[in-house]
């Protein structure tokens, strides 16, 4: 399985500011994903990030609020823009490795974000 590093691990931000979260993988992967986990909740997929194409966003998430970059096969960033207290969540990146259908995803430790 892949080793995934996320930075920062946590942050406290002021409302109206933006934060960029980095996700680094120790091997080349085609598919990377960004999830949000609101306090006490399960995971919700924000978007799928494939290298060389625009990210695909899920319903309820837009590029202006959550711009994503995927410059190569080992790295991606998620920016949370113009933050409000409702954006306080854990943000996790994951990757799908292996070949074949429905491979498991492997997750980073997440970024714990609090907005004041």
């Amino acid at each position: 399985s892949a080793v995934i590093s996320q930075k920062p691990s946590r942050d406290i931000c002021q409302r109206g500011t933006s934060l960029t979260i980095q996700c680094q993988v120790d091997s080349q992967v085609t598919m990377m994903f960004w999830y949000r986990q609101q306090p006490g909740q399960s995971l919700t997929l924000i978007a799928t990030a494939n290298q060389g194409s625009e990210a695909t966003y899920e319903s309820g998430f837009v590029i202006d609020k959550f711009p994503i970059s995927r410059p190569n096969l080992t790295f991606s960033t998620l920016t949370v823009s113009n933050m409000s207290p409702e954006d306080s969540s854990i943000y996790l990146c994951s990757v799908a490795t292996g070949t074949g259908n429905n491979q498991p995803q492997h997750f980073g430790d997440g970024t714990r974000l609090s907005i004041l």
Partner: protein, 114 residues
């Protein structure tokens, strides 16, 4: 359409006793099913996966799960709980050809009493 229902939001067991975390799924396809564990301040770790091979799946740390198509269930069990098993557990369904979206259950928090 695909969905997952985790029937218990909290489960409490004593150390050394069996663990049962219940999961029911709905899928339009032959599903792939996964269990993940999330320890405090950590990401999700894959415990085990079912992808249409043997219906009884063995995972890490002594956990196993049985796929029962007739009951649309994929319950997670462990014969003897350990204090280190205290965490949140997520059941996930996916399905179809190629990559498909993961659908997460709402999670079950397992408490292990000494």
């Amino acid at each position: 359409a695909q969905s997952v229902t985790q029937l218990d939001s909290h489960v409490s067991v004593s150390e050394g006793t069996p663990v049962l975390l219940r999961c029911n799924y709905s899928s339009s396809y032959s599903p792939s099913l996964f269990w993940y564990v999330q320890h405090p301040n950590k990401g999700l770790q894959l415990l085990l996966k079912y992808t249409s091979a043997a219906t009884l799946v063995k995972g890490i740390n002594g956990f196993e799960a049985e796929f029962k198509k007739s009951e649309t269930s994929f319950h997670l069990t462990k014969p003897s709980a350990h204090m280190s098993d205290a965490a949140e557990y997520f059941c996930v369904v996916s399905g179809g050809v190629g990559f498909n979206k993961f659908y997460f259950g709402s999670g079950t928090k397992l408490n292990v009493k000494p």
